[in-house]
């Protein structure tokens, strides 16, 4: 299947972390997953807590699970908390209802994979994910 290459994933992660540094954010964790939600690359900056990889993957794979950003999943969780909570129990990599998980599209609008960022506020996490995707000349869903 078409997917994000390791080279592209490295570019996304480097640009995501650089954007966080530029904004003066807390240390981040960044995951890039393929269209099936399987991890391609991950980095966690020094002094980040132990769950960062799980949260980053849960934002990215969860977004692919429902076909929307983890920001939208956060809105759905506010509207229908029980429904979104129930999905966390059946999603193989979890489903995190907070901004920072963004689907990456190919030119035809199909999901190539997703990026998940965690460590600062969710709004800032998402800004960094979008900067990372743009740096790799890829298209973020909804952008």
């Amino acid at each position: 299947m078409s997917t994000i290459s390791l080279d592209q994933a490295r570019t996304i992660i480097a640009a995501t972390l650089a954007h966080g540094k530029q904004l003066g954010l807390k240390p981040l964790g960044v995951a890039v997953v393929d269209g099936g939600g399987h991890l391609i690359a991950f980095e966690r900056e020094d002094c980040t807590a132990t769950l960062r990889a799980h949260i980053a993957v849960g934002k990215a794979a969860g977004a692919l699970g429902l076909g929307v950003s983890s920001r939208r999943i956060g809105e759905m969780a506010a509207e229908r908390p029980g429904f979104i909570a129930s999905l966390g129990a059946i999603a193989p990599s979890g489903l995190i209802p907070a901004a920072g998980g963004v689907i990456v599209l190919d030119d035809a609008g199909r999901a190539l994979g997703a990026v998940g960022v965690t460590g600062d506020t969710s709004d800032n996490d998402e800004l960094c994910a979008l900067a990372g995707i743009a740096a790799a000349n890829l298209k973020a869903q909804g952008a």
Copy 2:
């Protein structure tokens, strides 16, 4: 036990998807499970997100798990969120508190199985499940 046959399951799925197309809904995923909550047949339309099978089965098997529709489970989740959340952790296929999971009854009122639909709003998902069950000349619980 008596169950839904594969032929009946195919009729249910074809009619469920046809109803969704007729209503102009988003692409759907449809699961038909036997009385034990075990999958008989499933179809996911093109361009649906990766979690659709889990959600469809979780609606259908979850309904059988409590003996009520997943719509009623959604109401229970609003009344007693902690209780319903706790069941999601122990239900082997999950328990989705949102309409779209409907129990199928035999003439004596015993559960033959269930149908779970996901992809559009839960109300629309349920309409399609009911249309599918009716097309197979089977009886939906509560209908």
Copy 3:
């Protein structure tokens, strides 16, 4: 990402079950999954046991997990039983070391998805999977 369409999945399942009937096999379960191991379509013939969906998906998704057929995973399990058993615990959909799970390739040799068949002997299960893939004019890995 590129994947198997629902129409192709239906063709695969119909031809797989037809081949089983032609050979006089026991009733079968057949799963078609996308490149990430997520279910596209499944059918289980009448009078099959409750685990059939899990086994069919575990053969298909497990094959994608290691990039080889479930027949080869069965050979690996004979050579290194502890290793293959340990993977079953971490593979989200399981990893079944028995023939019947076959990867489907696109023209460039990339995995589009996989087919998993269960119900008769593993050798017969695999024959039916290969017949199903051929009927959809798709290419089986290793064929």
Copy 4:
């Protein structure tokens, strides 16, 4: 606790992959985890199968779980298969009984973290992990 820094993890991964290329191995997945078995960094080369991240982490975190290399866990699995299999069910990241998971020590002999490599034969996977650890001027347990 003392741990492997992200910079060190990047050095380890780059040198591990470079060693694999130099030896002409199949594409690899490489995980670096901290002393608690939590992922610091991961990369999976293009055209690797979907389970590579799970296997790499399972080798590294599993080694820390018993305080020995995953090669030694493989030997233990040959001696006491039921015991090692039982641990796989309770280890949060799995326990992979095959070479390629190596503990990284500080100067006082305490575990700083571990490296897990997967993709070629286990012996080759381990050679690459050792090359990666050496490139970061860190000490591999047992080396």
